[in-house]
Amino acid sequence: MACILVVDDIPGVRKSIAAGLKRLGHEVLEAGNGREALDLATGRATDLVITDMLMPEMDGVDLIDLLNEAPGKTPRILAMSGGGTFVTSQDALTVARQNADAVLEKPFDTVELCDAVQSLLEKGAT
């Protein structure tokens, strides 16, 4: 069983992803943006962070940067994106691929989610 943090500004997305992960027996935490995610992750051993890229307050790129800078073990990062562009006109999926350990293109089914999570957890935190 792993501790997985799901970050997305749309509650329905978080809930549907959390539902699949809980079925697998994982402990799931939810956050609505990067800042909330950092607060939750601080001082807690998180094995995997599944994060959206385009979010208010703090986006996925900044969240990933700050998680990587934090002391201690860095969780694996699974980025997810439905496409779209940052204000810099960069394609969200391209940015996701450059910054995360793995990427899922929204919407994905539960099998795709489980396969990606399984494969990242086997690699373990760094």
Partner: protein, 370 residues
């Protein structure tokens, strides 16, 4: 003096760079009584072949019936008219004709003749269509990438939750299980459509461009198309292009384009037939073609098939994006895509790509960007 003036008039008409015709208005068929040299050069007909005939010989299968009716009505009402009409040369090739017809009246006001001025505007229309196509693609790119993030997120629960609910359902809930399958299936269809749309919005596919063997693209497309052919359609390869030749561009985009053409071909042969994937090399150009034995593309649609969202398929069966996307991909590789209807052999789409030698500089592709 009069003869000389008339002679100069005739010479002037013949020297004109526009096509000029004069037809007899007194006769119901309105036969031609004069055509100038430019008309003969444009259409390929000699004056003696056409004098005495109605101008209808310029029309063909792709000529718009509404435009013809419009012309007829104006002439019946003794009115002048300006239209653009698809006409055919003697050799069967098409050209767009900007046609201006005006009645000529005698001193009593009776219309005795109709003078026609015609200009071949094929090239101008092609440029207009290209510009319109680019503008549509650009708008589509902006629109799709604008909504993609939101809509894909909305689809997330629809695509992922049904399978979880199914595992929680008791064994005897077969009907409810089917409903969940339906939700999941429709969610995934929406996902596929949105992903196709998003390909317009992606910037600069040049990032993926490389030199590759076009035979590989045909092989990959054939692997994908074979299961869709089923028992009724025979998939045939006709290849004189040797392996090891290279073109420059994105391999996956070319594969997708061939698949889109192949899927259309399969849809055109519901009763079965032959799907031929061919690859040839002529004068430094690689030709990849997809030919079916269906009814061919309806001539009314031939000029519109590459427009985004144009489809002749029933509602729900075609997005109208396959050919538009294929054209966009092929143009970005510096190539062209064209259609030829074979009288008895269905439709044949041909992709022409410039051969790229590994040691030569890559061509600079053009892109539709959002």
């Amino acid at each position: 003096m009069f003869r000389s003036a008339a002679h100069i008039w005739m010479q002037a008409l013949d020297a004109a760079q526009v096509n000029i015709t004069i037809a007899d208005a007194a006769h119901p068929e309105r036969p031609l009584t004069y055509v100038n040299r430019s008309f003969c050069e444009t259409t390929g007909y000699a004056a003696e072949d056409v004098i005495g005939r109605s101008c209808r010989f310029l029309q063909g299968p792709g000529t718009c019936a509404e435009t013809i009716a419009q012309i007829r009505q104006s002439l019946n009402e003794d009115q002048a008219i300006d239209v653009e009409i698809l006409n055919y040369r003697r050799d069967g090739s098409e050209f767009w004709n900007a046609l201006s017809l005006s009645p000529i009246r005698d001193e009593t006001g009776r219309v005795t003749a109709i003078v026609g001025f015609q200009v071949d505007v094929t090239e101008r229309r092609r440029l207009d269509e290209d510009r319109l196509h680019s503008a549509k693609m650009e708008a589509l790119g902006r629109f799709s990438s604008g909504i993609a993030h939101e809509v894909n997120s909305m689809l997330q629960p629809i695509v992922s939750l049904p399978s979880l609910v199914k595992t929680a359902l008791p064994e005897d809930k077969a009907e409810e299980r089917e409903w969940l399958d339906l939700i999941e299936e429709h969610g995934k269809t929406a996902r596929a459509l949105l992903r196709k749309l998003l390909q317009y919005g992606r910037r600069n596919p040049a990032a993926e461009a490389a030199l590759f063997d076009p035979c590989k693209a045909l092989d990959a497309a054939a692997v994908h198309l074979r299961p869709a052919c089923g028992d009724l359609i025979n998939l045939v390869r006709n290849q004189t292009l040797a392996t090891g030749k290279t073109v420059y561009g994105d391999l996956q985009s070319l594969v997708q384009s061939i698949i889109a053409l192949g899927e259309n071909a399969i849809d055109a042969m519901p009763q079965g037939g032959t799907l031929t994937l061919a690859a040839h090399l002529t004068d430094g150009t690689v030709s990849l073609s997809v030919q079916d034995t269906g009814p061919g593309v309806d001539t009314r649609y031939r000029h519109r098939i590459f427009e985004p969202f144009f489809t002749s398929k029933p509602i729900g069966l075609g997005t109208g994006l396959g050919l538009a996307l294929a054209q966009s991909h092929i143009t970005s590789m510096g190539g062209t895509i064209s259609l030829k209807n074979h009288a008895a052999n269905g439709a044949c789409f041909t992709i022409n790509l410039p051969l790229a030698e590994p040691d030569t500089a890559a061509p600079s592709p053009q892109f539709y960007t959002a």
